[in-house]
Amino acid sequence: MTRSPFAAVIHRKMTTMEKMLSLIIVGYIILVATQSASFFSISTLFDLIRSGAALTIFAFGVLIVFISGGIDVSFAAIGIVAGYSAVLISKAAGVDDILFIIVVAVAIGCGLGSINALLIHLHNLPTLIVTLGTASVFHGAMALLLGMETFTRSGVPQSILDFGSARLFTVGGESGQAGLSIFLPLVIGVGVLTWFLLYRTRIGRSVYALGSNAESASRVGMSILKTQLFIYMYVGALSGLAGIVYFSGLAYINPAALIGTELAVIAAVVIGGAKLTGGEGTILGTVLGVMIWQLLQNTLIHLGLDSSFQDLFFGAVLVAILGFIYFRQRQANRRALVFSSN
């Protein structure tokens, strides 16, 4: 192998969208830094990394579904159901081991994902409708079967607490120590794995092919069922993992969490350049999309905004950024004689 996957990722030219997002991110960071001296710190960086971990893992899953031409709104429910069940199983079995918990969560996520895939494929149903339905069903079934007991720090398995507080290294600073969470290599690992699957494996290319032209995919002999199973099981697995990461990061297990945050993840992925029409979307773009979202969400205090103005600011900036990005794209489309609206 002459080029490592890393090299390939980095050497690739950035897409226009990625360039624009990077610019916006840099610009925004500079803006915030001029407003708040304490913003530009290693501790802020590490905090953002840790708190964005689960979101990023979810986003990778959502990206794959988008590339395949679908929409998934069940990932949050799957993440919670898989994560919560895994914790209960670990408690019941008395196995307090993070690997065990993750494996169980991933397995359950895969299982739930396969239900999505089968419903979608066997009945030829729109993915939005299926996942909208299964999200309620999965979460509702969990509430009925397993209950909705929350576990506060005192009830959280020790291994989850340890996982959440594990640090690669810690640097001391004036405002306390800042530790780089073990989530970072995990997220990078998931990103590289996702990248590898998408770009270097047959099944990954089938995902693009499916989103690009489903009929053609079938004609060249790709198995649509297998591809759909791969997509939704992988998304399920990532969701299960993200569920555990989420619980670990907070050291608090709440089976009502995350539900309702789907739109944020979807927005981050779409901002990152994925198209609802399928076939398009990159890992880097997704990461940038998540970063923008995280930054906008977590810098309002630094900007010194009164909290009753936070949504106003957030909404206005978001609309402005979107308008800027898409208006430029519209003009480029016009020059290239692309007539479709969005």
């Binding site: 395949s68 031409g69 679908g70 929409i71 419903l119 979608i120 494929h121 009945h123 030829n124 149903l125 729109p126 993915t127 409708i129 909208l132 339905g133 299964t134 999200a135 309620s136 069903v137 979460h139 509702g140 079934a141 509430a143 009925l144 989103g211 032209n213 489903a214 009929e215 079938s218 649509i224 759909q228 739109l263 979807i266 927005a267 779409v270 609802l276 029409t277 399928g278 076939g279 009753s308 103005f309 949504d311 106003l312 957030f314 909404g315 206005a316 978001l318 609309v319 979107l322 308008g323 898409y326 208006f327 519209r330 489309n333 004689l337 692309v338 007539f339 479709s340 609206s341 969005n342």
Partner: protein, 356 residues
Amino acid sequence: MNRFTTFLARDKDFTVLAITTIVVTFALYMLLGQRVFSLAGVQSMSIQVSEFGLLAIAMGLAMLTGGIDLSIVAAAGLAGVMASLAMSGQIIPVTEDNSGMLFVLGVVVALVTGLLTGLLNGLIIAKLSVPPILATLGTMILFTGIGMAITTGNSVGILVGGFSDIAALAIGPAPLVFVMLIVVFVAVGLTLTKTRFGRRIYLFGENDVALRFSGARTERTIIFTYMLIGIIVGLAAIVIIARANSMRVGFGESYLLQTILAVVLAGFNPFGGKGRIVSLGFALVLLQTLSTSMTAFGFSPYAKNLVWGLMLLVVMVVTYYVNRPRAKVRRPRDMTGGLVAPTGTFPTVRSKAGAR
């Protein structure tokens, strides 16, 4: 009658939904009887379905164009806040004499605010080409933010006496707000089927490029659609503030996902061009009876979600089997379940390399 049966046979999606609604309602009636389906019970359901139903129509309109409007609830919130402010005595003192005038003002403010929110959405979507899901997500946060900035989160109470009568009045046995919903249903239904504008909404949803090549003002169509959505949202805001006699940012948030659920349950294609207002009526009835019955059973809200989700899946799967050709499956399946462009079309991603 004959025409009716051929209609049912042709629109199988509608038939499945209608039959499901009737069967489920009947089954619940057998189980719960007068406890839920008394006159008072049905009136109560019809009141409840009103504000939610208006929002669902708005969502349905967005989906017909192939878009989605995530800002409807936030926009209704903003319209409600503005209208409530007008009638709160905080800006114009409420007196005996001017309360009639303020009543009218409140209604106008709600409708105009709704209209403006729709206009903004329409402009961002049509003139800046921001995908509707992102545009309306942005404005959802923005509208909430404006409401928040104005009220700092406080409830705005309405001092104009009689405004809440809107929610209490009835025409015969039918609550006024429900009659209002029916009127909007009919009006939107007629607009969609009987006017050029409605025709263009469907055509845009099906193929916006072909519509542009037919010489239609596609951007205007989109802007007008979102403005219509805005007006309906304004009406929803009136219903909401009449029922609550006040308004607060965040009121009705949970309606958002529910409206999407109702609209797709009604067989609307999330990618545009397909969906019937009549079906939406049935979907609303189905969801409302289920929801009310769940409360009667004393089930947890999660059970309600479970049942709603199951209902959606069941209706969709049954529809699939009913629509499936009797012979072997052969129609080139829409492998991703209708989520990719129709087969045979070939998205153009022309770049410099291709164009020249």
